[in-house]
């Protein structure tokens, strides 16, 4: 794997481990950046090391100690020098312990791999506690504003760029950058601890974590930047995080519901993208490609969540996904049940985006004209003004009604708003089809 690939794969894990070892976001980031810079310089000459992650972590620690030394020379603060001595000792201890950990880790790894959810070969999970779980609880600490929690988790655990996070939340990149800086400063200045919350706080803290996991999954599922329609690794990452939360809190029915939702959506992934990278709509997907194991697991999970808990928004969305998953084809889908589920969902969680989905379901259950009426009412809502799926959905319904000119206009409006490359390709093709008909 090339260095860029390793960076995307590993930077979240490496950063989490470094933060634990060094006790500071900034130091961990600087160390990691310098380690990667060194890798770019040396690996082409010397070859990629057998264990790239271990190499990067060790190098980053060395670089971080250098950073502290430079700062100490400048400030000559006794505490800095003391910190350096502590880190050097810690590093030496870690090297000695590493051999013991490697031996114990092998048996732990075999024990921890329970299901296949797309986890990649060559991952060595931390056998003595999941650094990422600790980090996600820290990123999702209530002392941070919710939007900061989400941004920080996406940035540090999933390696999204500030730009990508900004687009997901429809805010300008400088605003998002500032949000991240402030969040890290708050963690440092108020000394938010890197730890899993105590038992009596766990349930409340999990709610925030679930929201972040959900948003991470969505970013992967509906990628707003880059060539691919789906950033597979984000979905896999979110599912993995969801599993850990379920294992940790088996009585949290909402964690089960969210995991169900993610599995059911992810089960369609093999069918969602065509060979040329364009998205394939649900209506024409090859359902034989859907991952039946994920569908079985997801369906069981949502049934269990609804049985043991309430019809939360996650559970309702998972139920909708399950109805789709049960159907052999678009025609055999129980669209009326889906419309009904969306209506309950809208009561629990009124949102223009869910109304958009509701309208699309109504179009399937009652015909395009019925759906179009709902979309026209939605057009008035300002939150959807820059959301390309609104004109794209309108265009699709107009196309089905053979109103070619209006459909072309809507496709053009959608293209003006869409940033995802594969969505743009798809919309351009549709527009060309419309123009050929006029």
């Amino acid at each position: 794997m090339d260095i860029e690939g390793i960076f995307r794969e590993e930077s979240g894990r490496i950063l989490a481990t470094l933060i634990r070892l060094l006790g500071s976001f900034d130091l961990a980031e600087e160390g990691m950046q310098e380690a990667f810079a060194t890798a770019v310089e040396r690996w082409p000459r010397e070859g990629t090391p057998a264990k790239p992650r271990a190499w990067l972590i060790a190098t980053a620690q060395h670089k971080a100690i250098d950073v502290l030394r430079r700062r100490a020379r400048f400030d000559s603060k006794r505490e800095e020098l003391q910190r350096i001595a502590e880190l050097e000792q810690q590093f030496a201890d870690a090297q000695m312990a590493k051999a013991r950990i490697d031996n114990a880790g092998e048996s732990m790894r075999r024990h921890n791999r329970t299901r296949s959810d797309g986890s990649d070969a060559g991952r060595d999970d931390d056998p003595f506690g999941d650094d990422r779980l600790r980090l996600i609880f820290t990123c999702c600490h209530p002392a941070l504003a919710l939007e900061a929690q989400v941004a920080l988790t996406l940035r540090t655990l999933c390696g999204l760029t500030t730009e990508e996070i900004a687009r997901s939340f429809l805010v300008p990149p400088p605003t998002m950058a500032q949000r991240l800086v402030r969040a890290k400063q708050k963690i440092r200045d108020a000394r938010i601890p890197y730890q899993i919350p105590p038992e009596h706080e766990l349930a409340a803290r999990v709610e925030a974590v679930l929201l972040v996991v959900y948003l991470v999954f969505n970013e992967g599922y509906n990628a707003t930047s880059g060539e691919a329609a789906v950033r597979h690794e984000l979905c896999t990452e979110a599912i993995r995080l969801g599993r850990v939360v379920c294992q940790l809190l088996p009585r949290q029915t909402d964690a089960r519901a969210l995991l169900a939702l993610m599995l059911l959506h992810d089960s369609r992934r093999p069918a969602r993208t065509a060979q040329n990278g364009e998205p394939v709509l649900l209506e024409v997907q090859d359902r034989s490609l859907w991952n039946q194991e994920q569908i079985r697991e997801g369906t069981a999970l949502v049934e269990s969540a609804l049985r043991d808990g309430r019809a939360s928004p996650y559970a309702l969305q998972a139920a909708i996904a399950a109805v789709h998953a049960q159907a052999q084809s678009v025609e055999e889908t129980d669209w009326r049940q889906i419309v009904g589920l969306y209506e309950i969902l809208l009561q629990a969680q009124p949102s223009p985006v869910i109304e958009l989905n509701h309208a699309a379901a109504v179009a399937m259950a009652e015909g395009p004209a019925a759906g179009l009426k709902l979309l026209d009412d939605l057009g008035a809502k300002s939150e959807l003004r820059d959301y390309y799926l609104l004109p794209a959905s309108r265009a699709d319904l107009l196309r089905r009604l053979e109103r070619w000119t209006e459909a072309a206009d809507s496709y053009r409006r959608a293209l003006a708003l869409a940033t995802n490359d594969s969505a743009r390709k798809f919309l351009s093709r549709r527009l060309a089809e419309m123009e050929a008909r006029i």
Binding site: H141, A143, D189, A190, R191, I192, P193, P197
Partner: protein, 119 residues
């Protein structure tokens, strides 16, 4: 690390309490203070007299401006503080949540920036 716990509450609330209720709350405060002294958190603290006893001073264009009352009229007023030593924010929040006023008011938890002070 040190934190200042700023105790905000609606002053008018105190007027509505009977003597017995007032005494009960005072006892709660005393017990709380005692317990954080024992746990090693306590570094200082005081009850503040009500905001009508406050005076605010500012220097603008070299002129001293003195006004009656707190620096700003707020829905909840600063009524007291604790200075504590805590190992991290969660430790400080756990202490702050036990302050009796937390039930009806708000406790702001502010990290201290340490400076060398003359003794």
């Amino acid at each position: 690390m040190q934190y200042l716990l700023l105790i905000y509450g609606n002053e008018a609330h105190w007027e509505t309490l009977s003597e017995a209720e007032g005494n009960a709350i005072n006892k709660e405060f005393m017990d709380f203070t005692q317990s954080i002294a024992q746990s090693g958190h306590l570094r200082g603290g005081n009850e503040l007299n009500r905001t009508s006893t406050a005076t605010t001073v500012r220097l603008r264009d070299k002129k001293r401006l003195v006004t009656d009352g707190p620096f700003a009229e707020t829905k909840e007023q600063l009524g007291g503080y604790y200075l504590i030593e805590a190992k991290d924010l969660d430790d400080a929040l756990a202490v702050a949540a036990r302050i009796p006023s937390a039930r009806w008011g708000s406790i702001e938890v502010r990290p201290i920036i340490p400076h060398e002070m003359p003794s």
